[in-house]
């Protein structure tokens, strides 16, 4: 409690001499305290991971476009060995690229846009320009023999992990998964972006599976209530090129 001989402060009168060192202290504590918290909280926050989204330059890629049911470009990549490398396709913001790619399904195309990648898995964001997709007639009407991905059934399996949106997970948002990112992932998947299932091994290395229903149709709407939660799914595994596909019954997704 204040004592009678304590200094008395009124805002509109000059600061009492005895309060000056106190005011100096407040300013110091305020600035040093904030600086301290800024440095500690900034260094201790979650690492956003090595996702990449290079917007500095627009690039072009060529390959075989497939839309079954999600748009994927299969390209030759010596690093992928014999397998055709699968590049998932998206539009800008939180929208998928189905509608735009459908007319070119099955054709060799050249795409304009930007690369997105995380941990060796690549994605391509189509530019919004009208000529972002160009058919390549000069590769011949049927490029399947050279670029067509092998489809290799791997049988039924049960997996535990998290449903995420491929665009944010592969590098647009950091982090692109987990609780804080849930709403964003819901908007992305709802907007048509390919839903993926992410499992992690003991070292937290991720494996990705593109999710479809049992007859190979999109599951975007059906998985929305389960996005970004720990869940268990059962399904049939298949490999197309270097990409895993998991055909699931969305009615049987189980929360963990």
């Amino acid at each position: 409690m204040p004592e009678p001989n304590d200094p008395f402060y009124v805002g509109y009168a000059p600061l009492p001499k005895r309060l000056r060192p106190w005011v100096l202290r407040f300013v110091l504590v305020w600035l040093v305290g904030l600086a301290g918290f800024a440095v500690v909280l900034a260094t201790k926050q979650q690492d956003p991971g090595p996702g990449e989204w290079d917007l500095s330059k627009q690039v072009a890629i060529e390959g075989l476009l497939r839309v079954d049911p999600y748009p994927v470009l299969f390209v030759h990549d010596p690093k992928a060995g014999d397998l055709a490398r699968a590049v998932l396709l998206v539009s800008e913001f939180k929208f998928g690229a189905q509608d735009r790619t459908q007319p070119f399904a099955g054709q060799a195309v050249r795409l304009q846009g930007h690369f997105i990648s995380r941990g060796g898995r690549g994605m391509f964001e189509l530019s919004s320009e009208s000529d972002a997709i160009q058919a390549l007639p000069n590769l011949g009407p049927n490029p399947e023999p050279t670029l067509a991905p092998t489809r290799e059934p791997l049988g039924p399996c049960t997996l535990q992990g998290e449903i995420a949106d491929s665009k944010c997970f592969l590098g647009v948002m950091k982090p692109g998964f987990g609780k804080t990112h849930r709403a964003c992932a819901v908007r992305c998947i709802s907007g048509g972006i390919t839903p993926i299932f992410v499992t992690r091994d003991a070292q937290r290395n991720a494996t990705l599976y593109v999710l479809t229903d049992l007859v190979g149709q999109p599951v975007n709407e059906a998985v929305l209530p389960f996005v970004a939660e720990p869940v268990e799914v059962q399904g049939n595994l298949e490999r197309r090129g270097d990409l895993f596909y998991l055909a699931i019954d969305p009615g049987k997704i189980m929360r963990k």
Partner: protein
């Protein structure tokens, strides 16, 4: 103080206060973003940069809220903190602005830029209201932001006058609800994915700090209250000589508000301890230019009338006083605010001062 309103009544102290306030906010955010860019992988584009800014502004606003909640009890514990209290409202408005920046970034980048209404999405993108771990924590942040907005919007004395101090004070008590909502916003949100214990430890420390300070200030006040001795309608305040000239002593009657008993020379007057402005403790004020001056924002009262000097119009309840020998007594029945009361006096022969 209350005749006609201007946007803000500026003076040198408020300007200095605001200048340091803004300096701190800028320093924090520049350091947070800068250190993140240096210690984490640099972002290639605006989306990760927005997440960094989201975290920077959110933690900044949350820290500022802790500071605001600390100023009240600190000022009750020691008058040295009075300069912090004086312009606390600007602190509140600044906190709202920083919190708003965070809320806008989060709403735009996490709920927006897609196929739906971003604001609506705060409520509907995650429907796990039935789960604690998966709860849509953004809703709690939005509610807290709404409270901070109401408080910032009504912080001006115009609203204080028009809502009345009771409603205004009640409204501003919602800051504690906002704090609680934000603790949950962080606990059910960022702390569910943030793996480093520093975040949990920091928030736990903040919670203990805020609660501890309030308990300490309340306990000290309770200790200081004491039980006054009652003699018929009169309660005893103490020895006249123990009240320093130009100061007051606070008594707590068995019922009703605390009373400030003020000494001016050989006279004592009694008035409500509760300032008509924002309820500041008048009994901890001083007599300046013949008026008891509130320690919070300097509102002044003529002690024997319970009224601000003209042209001001604030009024507080007054009480009757008497002095027997050296003993000062007060009748704890409040008189209508602004009722003039003849001060009680000690005769010269009794006064040893």
């Amino acid at each position: 103080m209350s005749h006609g309103y201007v946007a803000v009544q500026w003076n040198r102290h408020k300007r200095m206060y605001d200048a340091w306030l803004v300096t701190g906010i800028v320093l924090y955010n520049v350091l947070f973003v800068g250190v993140t860019l240096l210690t984490h992988r640099p972002p290639e584009d605006v989306a990760p940069l927005a997440v960094i800014a989201m975290r920077s502004t959110s933690t900044c606003a949350f820290l500022m809220l802790h500071a605001i909640l600390s100023i009240g009890p600190l000022a009750r514990l020691s008058p040295h903190f009075a300069p912090l209290l004086y312009n606390r409202r600007h602190f509140g408005v600044a906190t709202f602005c920083v919190g708003l920046a965070h809320g806008l970034l989060a709403t735009l980048f996490y709920h927006g830029m897609g196929n739906g209404n971003a604001l609506l999405g705060i409520f509907t993108d995650n429907l796990r209201y039935d789960s604690l771990a998966q709860f849509p924590f953004q809703v709690l942040g939005l509610l807290a932001l709404g409270i901070l907005f109401l408080m910032a919007a009504t912080s001006h004395d115009f609203w204080l006058k028009n809502l009345g101090p009771g409603v205004w004070k009640a409204l501003h008590m919602f800051v504690y609800l906002a704090y609680g909502l934000l603790v949950m916003h962080v606990a059910l949100g960022a702390l569910q994915s943030e793996t480093n214990p520093a975040y949990v430890v920091a928030m736990g420390f903040g919670l203990v700090w805020v609660c501890g300070l309030h308990l300490l200030a309340g306990w000290r006040e309770h200790q200081a209250d004491g039980k006054p001795t009652q003699n018929g309608p009169w309660i005893e305040v103490g020895d006249f000589e123990q009240i320093q000239d130009g100061c007051a002593r606070v008594v707590t009657p068995p019922l009703g508000e605390r009373i400030a008993v003020v000494r001016q020379g050989q006279h004592v007057s009694a008035l409500s301890n509760v300032c008509a402005h924002q309820g500041g403790p008048l009994g901890e004020g001083r007599v300046i230019d013949g008026c008891l001056t509130c320690p919070w924002h300097g509102y002044q009262y003529l002690a024997d009338r319970g009224q601000s000097p003209p042209p001001f119009t604030e009024k507080v309840a007054t009480y009757r006083t008497k002095i027997e020998g050296q003993r000062v007594f007060v009748d704890p029945t409040p008189l209508p605010p602004g009722t003039p009361v003849e001060p009680a006096s000690v005769s010269r022969s009794h006064a040893r001062a």
